[in-house]
Amino acid sequence: MATKTRPSEAPAETVNRPRDPTAEELSIAQGGTSAAAAVSDLDRPTFEPPGSAAGAMASAAAAGWLTNKHVLMLWQTTAPTDAWAYYDGGVGWKRSTQAGDVAARGMGVLTAGARASGGIVNAYEGAGGAIDAIYLW
């Protein structure tokens, strides 16, 4: 596995062995189901704008979502999908989706817009710790 880096930290040590499985990967190996099915539900937006009745309900019921955050800092290295954003409210650095270059670039447009506008962000943190969906209001 390649050397991994994180913003605001020294480069992590090179990993020479398969990393420990996540709880979800372990569950899949043992015949369980993946959260990927739930992630596929993210393919289209379901939240309504903040302030609307539907938006308030969605925020209140947003299990798994980081809601009403702001992006305070951005980080990008020479690696193609190594974009990070720092969220306020005690969240800290979160890596953008690892689902491919095209998706990462699209999401990067939104996180850059979030930093520039200071707008409200709702972000979904996937099983691997990366942000797999993002709203900018």
């Binding site: 289209r44 937006p45 704008p49 095209v102 447009v109 939104l110 850059a112 797999d132 900018l136």
Partner: protein, 372 residues
């Protein structure tokens, strides 16, 4: 149209009948009572079926008021009351129109239903689409044999709304009998609303309520009796007078406590309760004659100047969306990676800079974006 009994509305007779029944609704002079009987009947544009079938429709509706049937609304999870004119303070209906001296009520009832569904399903009460009844009646209806004198049927109108679509009022303004001489704008395919699919809900009040509460409206036909012309407010129940013909309206709500449907008519705001009326469950065949609801209304048009309120992106390629004022969520073109990314960049920039946009929408996808 069938030729019903000829005796016209008698306001004194209606007043007396209402008094003896305990004033269940209020009558008075309306935009209809001041017309001649011939002009009133010209506004009833759904031909009554043969007497036996009309009797069956009315009897079937009346049977639906039995306690067992009345319970069925909750069985489908529909709320006990709904009014598209006031959903959490938002009005998803469009202004009341006037069909004038033409039996085009089917076009008005169908278009009103499309307009409400288009706004409600987008969560956009200020969308306020104004679709062309003239396109539906004078082009589609005409090709189907409909005239001001014959009227039409909603099942036929919905077929055209699904297969072809209806343009907007500014591309073919309505006048009774097209007396204004307007014609269809040649660019109409680029300014079009289309029903994606629709349901026949005839005879199933629980399903009608479920559809209204989730899609905003349905169209419905009913038998008009002479006392109806003088309706001003309250819950209408037929008391006196002969049948005058068949009529099509848009049902935009209901109220189980009052036992009534809330309807939008096309006889101007000078009739009824600002152009609307309430009609009791099981009255005049309102649930049992040509009830249809649109599942969604797809648009192909420029939005006009508006703004991007929100943006969304998921972890799959080309999964960018924008929330557009008065339109709701629109998908950013997925024609190719480059177009998707560039358009998304432009639209996020418009959001960041609070700059107006004009978007060409086709079936829920932005195909052209112009940021000012």
């Amino acid at each position: 149209m069938a030729e019903p009994a000829m005796k016209p509305v008698d306001l004194d007779e209606v007043t007396a009948s209402l008094a003896s029944a305990g004033h269940p609704w209020v009558s008075g002079q309306t935009s209809m009572t001041i017309l001649t009987e011939q002009d009133r009947r010209l506004r009833l544009g759904v031909a009554l079926p043969p007497d036996v079938e009309t009797d069956r429709i009315i009897a079937a509706a009346s049977d639906l008021t039995s306690p067992t049937a009345a319970l069925s609304a909750s069985s489908v999870g529909a709320p006990a009351a709904f009014d598209a004119r006031n959903v959490g303070g938002a009005n998803y209906t469009t202004p009341v129109k006037d069909q004038g001296s033409c039996g085009s009520c089917v076009a008005f009832g169908t278009v009103a239903t499309m307009e409400t569904t288009a706004a409600f399903t987008r969560g956009a009460p200020n969308f306020d689409p104004d679709l062309s009844e003239a396109h539906l009646f004078y082009v589609h209806g005409k090709s189907d044999g409909a005239t001001c004198a014959t009227g039409w049927l909603p099942s036929r109108a919905f077929t055209f709304c699904q297969n072809v679509g209806v343009t907007f009022e500014d591309y073919f303004p309505y006048t009774p009998g097209n007396s204004g001489g307007a014609s269809l704008n040649a660019d109409w395919p680029n300014r079009l609303a289309r029903v994606t699919s629709y349901k026949n809900l005839t005879g199933n009040p629980a399903a009608i309520k479920e559809h209204i509460s989730t899609h905003g409206a349905v169209s419905a036909c009913f038998v008009v009796y002479q006392d109806f012309f003088s309706y001003r407010t309250g819950v209408y129940r037929h008391l006196t007078g002969a049948s005058a013909g068949g009529h099509c309206v848009s049902l935009v709500g209901y109220d189980d406590a009052l036992g009534c449907w809330i309807a939008k008519n096309s006889w101007s705001t000078g009739w009824g309760d600002g152009g609307h009326f309430k009609i009791g469950y099981g009255q005049c065949g309102i649930e049992t004659w040509e009830v249809h609801g649109a599942d969604a209304v797809s648009l192909r048009m420029w939005t006009g100047q508006t703004k991007v309120i929100g943006c969304y992106h998921a972890s799959s390629a080309r999964s960018g969306w924008v929330y557009v004022e008065n339109r709701g969520w629109l998908k950013v073109t997925a024609a190719n990676d480059s177009a998707h990314e560039l358009m998304l960049t432009d639209l996020v920039a418009s959001k960041v800079g609070n700059r107006p946009v004009n978007l060409f929408e086709n079936g829920g996808t932005v195909e052209i974006s112009h940021v000012y």
